[in-house]
């Protein structure tokens, strides 16, 4: 019996920063098992990022109402003490952002940034051990010369390399949950393929659960075990990847799938 890592129950977000309250996510229910890759797909503005940020605990606390529950290993992240939440962030839950160009601190050496989660959550780990683990992860994400990358500043690396650095930084603390929001959107196709392959590999080896968010259905198809289709803040349909792609139930899903560009070689 698989262990449930994440359970989102009747989750909703309502913004109160304009004259009228604006519901951007509503009645979202799903769960994520250990070692599973869950793809969330949907058009722009469908609430994918908002859901991801909420799970990561990064939503602003002001001018915004949240409802429902986000259970991480059975505990509600939304009502949890901030201190407890902070101890999970980066250690058990980590995230890769869309823009590898801006997600790394330009003034900090890559090595420092990869080690950050360890430095914060595991001060008992010695500096040498930290470095050893950071280098090991840089190697895991297929850096040719981990030692050099460790000493480099972000601007010395290509976009693809930076995204791999982000993966290393996210994984160094051995999290249970990895959230990837459009993490390949800014990259070109060959680099995209490499990142996808890496994520699959890491998922296999480390048994980390992955929430993979994208508006690219073919990527979702390649990587996901299960898929959620979102539209206008609602879940339209969810199911196993084969079922969604081979036997979609909802009109909206059928439309999306019909719209995938077919590459004929």
């Amino acid at each position: 019996m698989a262990e449930t890592i994440l359970e989102v129950k009747d989750f909703g977000i309502e913004f109160h920063d304009h004259d009228r309250p604006e519901r951007v996510v509503e009645h979202v229910d799903f769960s994520l098992q250990k070692g599973e890759i869950l793809g969330i797909v949907g058009e722009s503005g469908s609430g994918k990022s908002m859901t991801a940020l909420a799970i990561a605990g990064l939503l602003p606390r002001k001018k915004l109402r949240k409802e429902g529950q986000i259970l991480f290993l059975g505990e509600d992240l939304m009502t949890m003490e901030r201190k407890k939440l902070r101890s999970l962030q980066g250690d058990e839950i980590s995230m890769i952002f869309q823009e590898p160009m801006t997600a790394l601190n330009p003034t900090m050496r890559v090595g420092m940034q990869v080690e950050e989660a360890l430095r914060i959550h595991h001060p008992e780990v010695s500096a040498e051990e930290r470095k050893r683990r950071a280098l090991a992860w840089l190697k895991n994400v297929e850096m040719d010369d981990p030692e050099r990358v460790y000493e480099a500043y972000p601007h010395e690396l290509s976009g693809g390399m930076r995204q791999r650095v982000m993966i290393a930084a996210a994984m160094v603390g051995n999290p249970q949950l990895l959230i990837a929001d459009e993490c390949t959107t800014a990259l070109d196709v060959t680099v995209q393929a490499q990142i996808i392959r890496l994520l699959l590999e890491i998922n296999q080896k480390e048994q980390v659960s992955v929430l993979f968010i994208s508006h690219d259905l073919s990527l979702i198809r390649q990587i996901s075990h299960r898929v959620i289709v979102m539209q206008l803040g609602h879940i339209v349909e969810q199911g196993d990847v084969e079922q969604i792609f081979n036997a979609p139930q909802e009109e909206y899903t059928k439309h999306l799938i019909a719209a995938i560009p077919q590459v004929v070689l």
Partner: protein, 271 residues
């Protein structure tokens, strides 16, 4: 080391080198002035009253027959270190106030920034005058007064930089790694505002030079017989026609000091 060399390479431009040249020359004079001046700065010589520049007194003598070059050296030293201390106080406190306001926002930000705006509405020199009238004259008080008077402008710049930085992905990403507020403010964000900070420090230094000269000119800065560039200018006023060199050289040095720093600041921000 490597990064410093790269940095210099990137900023290799005329302004930078001209500014660095002038500034290091002045700095050198200030440093030498600590240990050695051709004459004692307070040594009077009745025979050399208002003497014109000559080989013995390359910048001439003032109305007491004191060697102007020696007094300029001492004046540069005083002005330089007072300005440095002033900027240090302004920057340090400005970073503290500005970063907290910019990072957290909200009510404390509103309150502090209203106070800041109110202070900012007065020219620094006026603010410094008020503070000196409370503290009394003297070098330390001048430094304190100018330093405090400089806080609002630094706080403002730092705050607006922090406001910009907190929204960036790298801050979110560090926050998600569990970094606390202090760590985010000082370890993650601060290095990213250094370039902006650096040029405002340079401009602030220039303003401090002028403000110190202004206060001394008004007679409430460095106290006689200590030499100060501003004070020399004010004393030289009565002798503009009998001894024009008396006003010329201190004035020229102030201009050079400000120019050197302005060029340096310009060159550093130029890509």
């Amino acid at each position: 080391m490597k990064t410093i060399r790269e940095w210099i390479k990137k900023h290799r431009n005329f302004n930078f080198f001209a500014g660095a040249g002038i500034t290091s020359l002045i700095l050198l004079v200030a440093l030498v002035g600590i240990f050695y001046t051709p004459y004692a700065s307070t040594e009077m010589n009745a025979a050399a009253k208002n003497a014109a520049p000559s080989l013995q007194h390359i910048m001439g003598c003032d109305n007491y027959g004191r060697d102007i070059f020696s007094r300029v050296m001492e004046g540069i030293r005083n002005t330089f270190f007072i300005s440095l201390a002033t900027v240090a106080i302004g920057t340090f406190a400005g970073i503290l106030v500005g970063s907290v306001c910019g990072y957290f926002g909200g009510l404390p930000d509103d309150i502090l920034m209203r106070v800041n705006d109110a202070l900012f509405a007065f020219p620094s020199i006026l603010l410094a005058l008020v503070i000196i009238s409370l503290l009394g004259t003297g070098t330390i008080n001048v430094v304190l007064a100018l330093g405090i008077a400089f806080i609002p402008s630094f706080a403002r710049i730092v705050r607006s930089e922090y406001k910009k930085q907190v929204t960036l992905d790298y801050v979110q990403s560090a926050r998600l790694m569990g970094a606390g507020h202090l760590r985010l403010i000082f370890v993650h964000i601060l290095p990213n505002i250094v370039p902006v900070l650096l040029s405002s420090v340079m401009i602030g230094f220039n303003n401090a030079v002028l403000a110190e000269a202004g206060l001394s000119y008004l007679g409430i800065g460095v106290q006689p017989p200590e030499a100060s560039l501003g004070r020399m200018l004010s004393e030289a006023q009565s002798y503009l026609f009998t001894a024009p060199w008396y006003a010329l050289f201190p004035g020229l040095v102030i201009v050079l000091m400000v120019l050197g720093f302005a060029l340096l600041a310009e060159g550093m921000t130029e890509e």
